[in-house]
Subunit: 394 residues, 2 copies
């Protein structure tokens, strides 16, 4: 029996990262593949307390259906955090989602018809590419450098291509490259989006994890027309298992996201929203984030030093000022997918970078995560990876 699926299913493939993660769950594997936070910093004890508090004080409501938009006090607190990031907004402009991945899916649903073009950084986040593909779009990759997307190239694309429907960017500690956009590029992006009347999806899962250099204003904070849709998440600053992200957008645009959420899953988890809200009442999230940044900075330093020492000189890699990833470029003839097979035989995993280019190519790249592995395994894994690469370059 073969059922008739929708046309869109032809374009939906398994996320390579997710499939890969399945191979890396063996405890002997040193994995730089996932984008997993350091679990030793998860606030387990704090959650024990707040889960009791929520069930004690508000148990029946915490287990009942609740509004699509999200738990009002939590929306309030998120709006306040956004204000601190320079975005003038209100609780009414926040929708709680199941992680920011859901915000990506909704963005595709709201803006894309088949054959519409999404502008993305080259490379861009694989999960976003997969989410948008479900809406049968095409991708236009705009080249990037250490300051983010190259604006001349973007302008050229906007001038010459029709059917462009939205621009998707990760301006802070980008996934996969670890790079951060300069202020000038951020301003220019908003200008161009205004000129061409396009929505910008600003995906910002890592922005609060800056451990070096100065914070730059979010693109949403530069927007004066309500065309930037900001996707935030607590997955990297609190924990990913509770699946709490948010969309921040203007009234008109947010209303579309709310409508789509109604049909997609009615609402996010009532209990987890209250737990996070209680956590934010009782504990200091910013203090907690300081601990995360300290740990990630030391892991980044250790990883980059070890890479410098053990990777061949031909391999170039980025110096992220925050976030979870560095990005390595190998000599052009090296195929990182083949490399991955060999490194997995030696129990070390990373993500081959080709998956982050929706139109293919760039198989000589790799995304390497430094947040999840303890220090000794970072050193050991990078040494092995260095050996595997050297073997390949012979």
């Amino acid at each position: 029996m073969e059922l008739n699926y929708s046309d869109r299913m032809g374009g939906i493939k398994a996320s390579e990262i997710r499939e890969l993660l399945k191979l890396t769950v063996r405890p002997e594997v040193i994995s730089f593949a996932g984008g997993l936070p350091a679990p030793e910093l998860f606030p387990v004890e704090e959650l024990k307390k707040v889960s009791q508090k929520v069930l004690e004080e508000d148990g029946q409501s915490a287990l009942q259906y609740s509004p699509t938009e999200g738990f009002p006090p939590l929306r309030e607190k998120i709006a306040e955090r956004m204000e601190k990031m320079g975005v003038k907004t209100a609780a009414d402009n926040i929708l709680i989602t199941n992680g920011s991945q859901q915000g990506l899916d909704f963005s595709g649903k709201i803006f894309l018809n088949p054959d519409d073009i999404v502008i993305v950084e080259s490379p861009s986040y694989l999960g976003a590419i997969n989410a948008f593909k479900a809406y049968q779009c095409k991708f236009l990759e705009v080249p990037t450098d250490n300051d983010g997307m190259i604006m001349e190239k973007l302008e050229e694309a906007l001038k010459t291509k029709e059917n462009i429907k939205m621009i998707y960017v990760i301006p802070d500690f980008q996934n996969p490259s670890g790079r951060t956009w300069s202020l000038e590029r951020r301003q220019k992006l908003v200008e161009l989006a205004n000129e061409y009347n396009l929505p910008i999806i600003e995906d910002n899962p890592y922005g609060e994890l800056r451990f070096e250099g100065e914070r730059l204003p979010s693109i949403k904070s530069i927007d004066t027309e309500g065309r930037v849709i900001f996707l935030g998440t607590f997955s990297k600053t609190f924990c990913p298992g509770l699946r709490i992200g948010w969309v921040c957008a203007s009234d008109e645009v947010l209303n579309k996201y709310i409508l789509v959420k109604q049909g997609a899953d009615l609402q996010s988890n009532s209990m987890s929203q209250r737990e996070l809200d209680a956590f934010l009442d009782v504990y200091d999230l910013d203090e907690h984030i300081e601990k995360i940044k300290k740990l990630y900075k030391s892991r980044r330093d250790l990883m980059l030093e070890t890479m410098k020492e053990h990777f061949p000189k031909e391999v170039k890699f980025t110096h992220p000022e925050g976030g979870l990833f560095t990005w390595a470029v190998l000599p052009e003839h090296v195929n990182a997918r083949e490399l991955m097979k060999k490194s997995l035989e030696r129990n070390v995993a990373f993500v081959p970078g080709g998956s982050f280019f929706p139109n293919g190519g760039n198989e000589n790249t790799m995304r390497i995560n430094y947040s999840n592995m303890p220090e000794n395994r970072i050193v050991e894994g990078i040494k092995i990876l260095g050996e595997v690469i050297k073997e390949e370059l012979k």
Copy 2:
């Protein structure tokens, strides 16, 4: 500024029920509108214990990313429950979703191209209609009676219409009508779906809440070809706030749902899945369900008795053997939306039935919930509703 949205957004409207629920949160309102379970039976104390247990024994994993498919021991337990319902299946055929609403959205995404036809019962569940509409489908409503969808009418439709892509049904204590399909109709439906090679979406949120009469086999248990996709949920038997539902389907079909879940939100809540799993280990869900059934039966009895006494004789209503709703049909000239405005003025709410007919009409119908209000408010609310209806019939 007006952004360009996708074509599908033209067809997506706010769920009338959700909008209505906002008006009914005032504590003075006696609401028969929502499909809310009785919160006094939520296992609050049990959850306090299992949440501690999960965080104590497995805290870091419970807060980390976890597999798209769901927490393996929970999938195992759901497969066992499905077996008890007569469905031969395995943990590998279960995907955990954010409530069964997410299973509805995914079904639309997987099977529907624009202008494809979905066959539904007339009336059908508003949330499903809204979920499918996002994929720009059309609806063919097949008439129903007390035994479910009328098979002669279905066969006629299948013979004469092209572009039919799936059949969506709620065979047990249907939402909104409260009716249950006969065994013969279930068997015939599977036969016809086999003949026309169509998938059947069997939405079964209430099947375990039968408090009268004999359990009938699920449509999935009759299927021999793997074309029935069963949507289950713990929202009505445990609690809705944790948003745990599931899809049960054949390997090939489930794989599509898993792919779609990856792009839609990566995975469901890691913590809540473990809490439910621990609850099922420590407590007896079936015993808990017995308590729910006992309460709902007594509320149904009370409501139907009060309706018999206080509603004018011209109003007909169903006698549900389980589930959460009864369905009333008023004389044709009465508009239930107008009626609702008047009853809300007197602080009583229900859902006007017209919303459950995707192609319109039938404005003289109402869905009335009996699970959520305590006994005294059921009597008071039905009396007021009776008065408002009598006023309208004058």
